[in-house]
């Protein structure tokens, strides 16, 4: 059997040498340092934290979230205050005694003269 026969069950030195040259890196020490540093980073951190540490870590973002929530609620309340508008109910319920100035001013129809006179405006 020829040395370079594909059937040869021994490693092909020429092919192996050429492939080794193609694939072998030149920065072995840097690679080792990099992997070891990553391993150290991953495996040497504290195994577990106590509940108070966890709660402490959550405190700052929790406070910030609560402040934002309060602010949003205040803005929401301000925005949801009912706008005073003259409705048909206002006009129907307006009598000489309880009529308001806004009903007289902004109502779609002219008020009755009796109402105007009695309202005192």
């Amino acid at each position: 059997m020829k040395a370079d026969s594909p059937f040869n069950h021994r490693p092909d030195r020429a092919l192996g040498k050429a492939l080794r040259e193609l694939l072998t890196p030149t920065d072995h020490d840097a690679f080792v340092s990099h992997v070891v540093a990553n391993a150290r980073h991953e495996f040497e951190r504290p195994a577990s934290s106590g509940p108070w540490d966890v709660l402490g870590a959550w405190m700052s973002p929790g406070l910030a979230a609560a402040a934002l929530l309060v602010l949003a609620a205040l803005v929401g309340l301000q925005g949801n205050r009912p706008v005073e508008r003259v409705t048909i109910d206002d006009e129907l319920s307006a009598t000489a005694q309880n009529v308001e100035q806004r009903v007289l001013m902004y109502g779609p129809a002219a008020p009755d003269v009796d109402v105007v006179l009695v309202s005192g405006y």
Partner: protein, 201 residues
């Protein structure tokens, strides 16, 4: 590092367990990062060659090799110390590389740049060497992934067919076939540089 210096083989070609490696593995499993570093130092080049061979890309190969080492560290509890460390690690390397290959399927292959010259070479010789390596790189890239892995493990790293079968979880006959077909495809790429080949052996 010479492979022969770092592994001990029986007459049948199957590696023996190296007690030093077992000790490093045990210490690393217990959290000794320095012991882990010794394993990385011993197997780093081999792991990178295998991963580069599988992926055809030096950066991806190095990333896969690093993933494999960290994965090995996480899973040292599963390592059977009655068996040699190298094949166990190479199985993890092979899996990491194949996994990365799946994820990077779309990414264009970046050329494997030849490493520094192994010997002093004149301009003509250096050009020949680079041409030969470029042809070999292209030939390797065209091989099916399992053939690339089998040829790299067999002809570059010196693993036996039985060990490669264990690493790749395929029958030995499949490994022999993969090595055969891989060699048959790669050898013609070396032929034009026969002089270089004979000179360097």
């Amino acid at each position: 590092m010479n492979l022969k210096q770092q592994t001990r083989e029986t007459v049948s070609g199957v590696r023996e367990v190296d007690p030093v490696e077992i000790e490093w593995a045990a210490r690393a499993h217990a959290g000794d990062i320095e012991a882990f570093g010794r394993l990385v130092d011993r197997y780093g080049e081999q792991a990178r060659r295998v991963a580069r061979g599988i992926l055809g890309d030096q950066h991806d190969g190095d990333d896969a090799a690093q993933d494999a080492f960290l994965s090995a560290l996480r899973n040292l509890g599963r390592y059977d110390p009655s068996r040699p460390f190298g094949p166990w690690l190479m199985r993890i390397v092979s899996n990491a590389a194949v996994d990365r290959q799946r994820r990077n399927k779309v990414r264009a292959t970046e050329a494997l740049s030849p490493s520094a010259p192994a010997r002093a070479a004149g301009p003509a010789t250096e050009t020949d060497r680079r041409s030969m390596l470029a042809a070999l790189r292209e030939g390797l890239r065209k091989l099916p992934q399992r053939q690339r892995t089998a040829v790299t493990l067999f002809d570059v790293e010196g693993y036996s067919h039985a060990e490669i079968a264990e690493i790749l979880k395929v029958p030995q006959g499949t490994v022999r076939s993969d090595v055969f077909h891989g060699r048959r495809a790669l050898r013609p790429t070396l032929r034009p540089w026969q002089d270089w080949k004979e000179e360097t052996i």
